[in-house]
């Protein structure tokens, strides 16, 4: 049996169908939560924000024109809300988190190598990327978004999407090199 498409669900939601809303929520809320959590770094805040994202869908479903995938629309709303929430935070809170985020995975390469766990080092280096670089890597690899969809979500030209992804990967390679993993690229 084929699952109801997201677009059909949106049409039903536009007609006030709460069951369709539940199905859409069940289908997408974990990915949207993870996307938001990566930005706000606060689980409670991320939960609040995904409620707001889906409430917007409930209210605006009649305006969805189907020019992009529903998941792309959701991530675009989520990104806007997460960045708005970040801007509302007190500066002191942001400073503390920024300091934590700045932690350089190359600080202790010996320890990293001692673990002999290349996967763990790669993950640590991924976490050490800037917000922009980590975002694009998440959108491409985890959220499986095409060049066009990333451009729509982030609000940048398609060529910039490719270039940003290239530099994100290049930076990752540099962090890995500093952590003792030479990959032979770039």
């Amino acid at each position: 049996m084929q699952a109801t498409s997201d677009e059909v669900l949106i049409g039903r939601i536009a007609s006030g169908d709460r069951l369709a809303m539940q199905v859409l929520f069940a289908r997408h809320h974990v990915r949207v939560y993870r996307f938001v959590l990566r930005v706000v770094r606060d689980e409670t805040k991320a939960e609040d924000l995904i409620s707001e994202v889906f409430l917007d869908v409930w209210r605006q479903a009649d305006r969805f024109e189907g020019r992009s995938a529903v998941s792309t629309w959701l991530l675009a709303i989520a990104r806007f809300k997460a960045l708005s929430a970040l801007r509302r935070r007190p500066d002191e809170e942001l400073d503390e988190e920024a300091a934590e985020a700045i932690e350089d995975p190359s600080d202790d390469p010996e320890e990293s190598l001692a673990k002999k766990d290349k996967s763990a080092v790669i993950r640590k280096c991924l976490e050490g990327l800037s917000a922009d670089h980590r975002e694009i890597i998440d959108l491409v690899y985890y959220h499986e978004k095409s060049v066009e969809e990333v451009a729509e979500i982030v609000g940048i030209p398609e060529n910039t999407v490719k270039t940003r992804m290239f530099y994100a990967r290049k930076k990752l390679a540099e962090l890995l090199k500093a952590a003792g993993i030479e990959r032979g690229w770039p």
């Binding site: 974990v30 939560y33 990566r38 409620s51 409430l55 009649d62 996967s119 290049k170 690229w185």
Partner: protein, 124 residues
């Protein structure tokens, strides 16, 4: 300056597309182009292995983030409930409604307004 600038444009383009090829989100034509290049370019194939490694770890990292509690869903549906009977506007493409809306622009009152603006409608 960068690898992007040092190589031929076609090679650069293929290299840039590798992440999307690994994620399976390339258009068929581009995907076939990348596949052909991978079969004849050992360096590109090695880089593709790195891309797949990054992809796997990115997925792993995201899955480690866990899932939201039921609070998120409860909050959402409480908010929807609070909006009460105010159901969202029916979105379906209502051709009849749109035609009716369009035609309403030609209602007698509107027409008479327009006519009043025409020079010929002025009293002679």
């Amino acid at each position: 300056m960068t690898t992007l600038n040092k190589e031929a444009p076609e090679r650069q383009d293929l290299e840039a597309l590798l992440p999307w090829h690994a994620a399976g989100t390339l258009a068929r034509r581009d995907s076939e182009r990348v596949e052909r290049a991978l079969s004849g370019d050992r360096d590109l194939a090695l880089q593709y292995d790195l891309v797949r490694e990054e992809l796997n770890e990115t997925i792993h990292l995201n899955e480690m983030l866990g899932a939201p509690s039921s609070r998120a869903m409860e909050k959402l549906f409480a908010a929807i409930e609070a909006e009460g009977a105010k159901a969202p506007v029916r979105r379906s493409f209502d051709l009849g409604g749109r035609i009716s809306e369009f035609l309403s622009g030609f209602a007698p009152r509107t027409q008479s307004r327009s006519w009043r603006r025409l020079p010929c409608s002025r009293p002679l």
